[in-house]
Structures are given as structure tokens and as C-alpha cells.
Symmetry: D2
Subunit: 172 residues, 4 copies
């Protein structure tokens, strides 16, 4: 079938340094805020953004007991949750006034990550179209090897601004 | 490339009724046990198996605040976590003396699920080979519509029995 | 993130028997027509639909030399091509006046299929929304075992009717 | 579940320049050879490798009538076939004496590609383990934008050397 979907990308517009600092501060604040929520997003509260742009959100996380499986290594379901939450937040750098909904998530598990390891997580926004956004994400271990690769395809919902009851805009 | 992988399936061997009852009891007990663990598997502690066989594990779950996103609907990352945990448990009906590791997870999000809804989750074991197992899973809403579809491909690790420090065998 | 995408499904409206016969005849004709085209759809020209409804398109195919890999078994790339083409045609039973574009395809390879085997291919339409359609597909061998499982998520393009230069409406 | 699969990667060993030239010549020859075969691999006969290493196989292809869909843009099924064939060939730079079998393929379609466009296709080998190899691939348009992203997870079959009847070793 056709590989032509909806329309051209609009992610080319980068942010200026000042805006990037503001975006990073906003992203750090939103992840910190997750320690106070009781919905599922709380599982990502220890993720710390270290750089933010329209194209890329780079984060770090130290793997603790709450993140692992029975073997004491990074849990595949938790990894998939981070693929969802972090890529959605990366789209949120550009898409601020619209709702979003997951369409597809896929995750490949290449190598284990041990408890105590600090991993680097890099989410990339590949395309933001009118109706769909495409992202991918890579989890890298302290030895620099890719442990987890994922992607997240997101529907953008024009008439569904992501505003909470408190009026606080959240991207996940 | 070839679609021939490793070798023939071994899931055809079904269980007799008595064995199914024992498997169901075991599965119910393992999910209940998750409310006592501090690793990531705890997020699945409210899943309740309602039937278990070598081919299929059927569960139910009522969606609560801890399972949803900012919009109050089933969280995509939590759904992906259940794809991982429930399909792994379904393989565990057959594979008891070997370790397992996720290779790939993929999830499609078709429809939202509201807080308070009780969903039916059906995991199917499609193939168990010497090195790989293939599963899929479907989340159905009270109206019978498919809300989430997923799959989980798992590596089987001969020399890595899934025994915990306490000697308790767990399948996730 | 949210699993709420666009809106409710509209595939519940089934076809009456007469309409199903007409749909089947149309589908058979379109696949036969592919033997006359020079675009990539030609690779599917030997697929034969055996039943067609809004929910399901069932086809059969005998594996020949043109469909296999170096080992003489069903080619993984050809299988992926059929996932694309046959699921798109299944959506075409319902979506007749709009264009479509692939968003995501995923394929799992469970077992090999030998040259000469006649396989049954069942495509299911899981949801058709305003902007997106979700399908899955299963290839079954003569022994009844699932050899290939796939899914195809499709964008529906309101302002892009799928009409060819000749005015012939095609769904792939 | 665990993200620990099989064992550590072995792709770190790069090739020296002379070996890279030899690998590139071999890869070019194998794709040219596909114009003479009658199996499905023939669809990739116009792919031209432009660099080859243990980590990466870079190719180019000009989109012709045989590669497109009804709309005259790159066919999604053909793209998926190239994801399969080109990533398998990339693994073949390192894995020469063993058989391989596809486990999973996934493809995301971001933007259309017009007939006549020359695209760059970059396959990366992310990990080669004892039993599994992980790859990804990106199709870039003349304007530098990513049109297609894919991944291919492959089983490595120790006792199944990929030798044809003629004794010619082929990697796809």
C-alpha cells in the first residue's frame, strides 16, 4: 500500500537556546511532579531530563528495585512504559495545545540492565504531522551499549486539549 | 528472508481438567503474591486469572486510578506492562524449569477504557519452540470491543531456571 | 499515555449475504487484475479470496518459486507484502470512497511454509475509525498451524479518493 | 519480564579498510546476482550497496514502476521486503557460516517517496548474539527526510549453513 501518510513533517523548526533551557526546566518539573500523582505516570517519577529540543529529549535514570523484574534487571514492562511516557513528553515540546493518544508502541530488548546502573534514554521526534507523530527511543547502558530500542506512534487530537481538572497542562 | 524459525511447536499438548484447575489456582496465587513484592511486577497485582490452559490464560481486571493516565483512561504504558507480564505467565503454564527473556513487545491501541470498567484480557500461546515462544493478547471492554491488542516474543533460556532467592519459582 | 484514539469503531455494520457475494466477486477480480499491472502489487496476483465480509477477508495461496527465499520456504518479505496488501483490501470492503496510507506494519514469523503448500490467509478488520483503521492477519499451513502473524495500521485520507488514471477504483 | 536476552553482543569487532572494500564488492555482487534468480529476492535486484561494515550497510535505490503502489509512490510491502532483505544482508557481513531466520519485522511509514527519487537506505546491526541478531533500518529521501523506519530481529541457526544447491553461500 502507499507509504504516503497524511502530510509533510513540521519538526524542522528548532528551538533557540533560551527556549531550550525553558523546555528543559519544564520537562524536569513535569517528571518531578509525577512523584505526587496516583495515576500510572507515577512509575516515571525518577526519570530526569538532561536536555530538551523539538527533535530530541535526553533523560537519565538510575535503575532501582521498583524498576526491575524477579531477576533484578530492568523490567520489560517498565521499559515499555518509559517508551510511552518519554516519547510522548518529547512530542509535547512541540505539541502543546492538543491532545494525544497512543496508536502503536513497539519495543526490542537487546541486553539486560542491572539494578544500580544509570542509563541514558534518548527519545527522538521523527515526524509531527497533522494527525500523527512518529518517535523512536534508545536506552543506553553505562558501557554505551544499546539495551532497549522502541518506537511510539501517536495520534494528535485537535479538539482534545490536554488540560487537567486543575487547568495544569500535561503532556502525559 | 526465511520464515523458518528454530523448530516445530510443542504447545499442542493440552492439559487435563484437573491440571487446569491446579494451573488456575497457581496463576491466581502468583498474581495475588505480586501485591507483596517491591519490584515492577507489583503493578499487575490486581489482575485475576479466570481460566488457564497450555494455550490460553484468561484474566480480568477492574481499571482503577493506579492504572490510568491523565485523562482517566487505561494507561498505554500500563497496558504494555500487562502485555509483558500476562503473556509471560501464559507461557509459564508450559515452561516451568527454564528462564525467559523478552525479545519483542508490540501493542496497538484501538479504543479507550474508562476507570471503573472491568476488562477481560485473553493471552494466547501461539508457539513454544526450543529457543523462542510467541504469544498474543487482547484486552476487551465491557461492550465486547477490542481496546488493546498486543504480542510478546520471548527467548527461552535453558540454563537459567527462574528461581528466586527464596527458591520460589516465578514466571515473571 | 492515553489509549483513547480518535473515536468509536464503525465496523459493526455487517453485509447481507447478497452483498457478501458481490464483495467476494469484486475481491477475486481485483487480485486477478494484479497479474496485468507492473507496479509492486503484482506480487499478490496469485492470492485468491474465498470469502469476504466487512469484518474478515479469507484468502488462499499456493506457494510457488516466486514466493520463496533461498531455502525454498515462504519469503519473509513476501509475507510482509501480503500483510500489507490483503489487510488493505479487507478494509476496502468498507472504505470505498477514501484513500488509505500505511502507518505501521508488524510481522511475526512462527513456522516455515514449504513450496507447494496451499496456505489459508485470514485478514480481520478490528476497527475502522475516522482517521485510522486497525487490522490483523494470520497465515495458516495445511497442518492448521499458524506460520505467520501480522498487523497493519492504516491512515484513512478523506480528500484522497483511491481512483486510478483509468477511473478504476482500487483499494491497494 | 526480563530484558536480559541470551548474551553479550559480538558486533564490536570492526573490519579493516581492505576487508570493508572486499565486503562492499561482495554485497554489490550479491544484489546484482538477484536479477538472475526467480525467488522473491529478485525484487531487491536494483539495490546498490555503497558502503559495508560489520555495523552498517548503506545502499541506494532509484524508485521505479516495479517498486510503487497504485498512487505511484514507494509501496509499503516493497519497503517491508527491503527491511527484511537488506538488514539480513547487513548481518551477513558478520555471520557467514550459519543460517538465519526472520523472527520479527516492523515498519513505520512516515512520508511518501515518489517514483524517480533516489533513496538512501541505511541498515544498522545493533547486536549479534549467539541465537538472535537485532537490526534497524532507515530510508531517507533526496530531501534528507526519513520516509520509512524499520527493524528486523533474526534467529541465528547454528546447524543450518546458508549454502545453496550450487554451493554458493548467500545471506538472503
Amino acid at each position: 500500500m502507499s507509504t504516503a501518510n497524511i502530510e509533510e513533517a513540521t519538526t524542522s523548526c528548532s528551538l533557540r537556546p533560551k527556549e531550550q533551557d525553558a523546555e528543559l526546566a519544564r520537562a524536569i518539573g513535569e517528571f518531578e511532579h509525577l512523584s505526587t500523582v496516583d495515576n500510572f505516570n507515577r512509575v516515571a517519577c525518577k526519570v530526569r531530563p538532561i536536555s530538551a529540543s523539538a527533535e530530541k529529549l535526553l533523560c537519565e535514570l538510575t535503575i532501582e528495585a521498583e524498576h526491575v523484574n524477579t531477576k533484578g534487571t530492568l523490567h520489560g514492562g517498565f521499559s515499555a512504559s518509559l517508551v510511552d511516557i518519554i516519547t510522548a513528553r518529547a512530542i509535547g515540546v512541540t505539541v502543546k495545545d492538543k491532545g494525544m493518544a497512543s496508536v502503536e508502541i513497539a519495543v526490542s530488548y537487546l541486553l539486560p540492565v542491572k539494578m544500580g546502573d544509570r542509563i541514558e534514554i534518548e527519545a527522538r521526534v521523527l515526524k509531527i504531522g497533522r494527525n500523527l507523530a512518529f518517535t523512536d527511543i534508545e536506552f543506553r547502558r553505562p558501557d554505551g551499549k544499546v539495551a532497549v530500542k522502541g518506537k511510539h506512534t501517536v495520534a494528535i487530537l485537535p479538539n482534545d486539549p490536554p488540560v487537567t481538572a486543575t487547568g495544569r497542562v500535561v503532556q502525559f
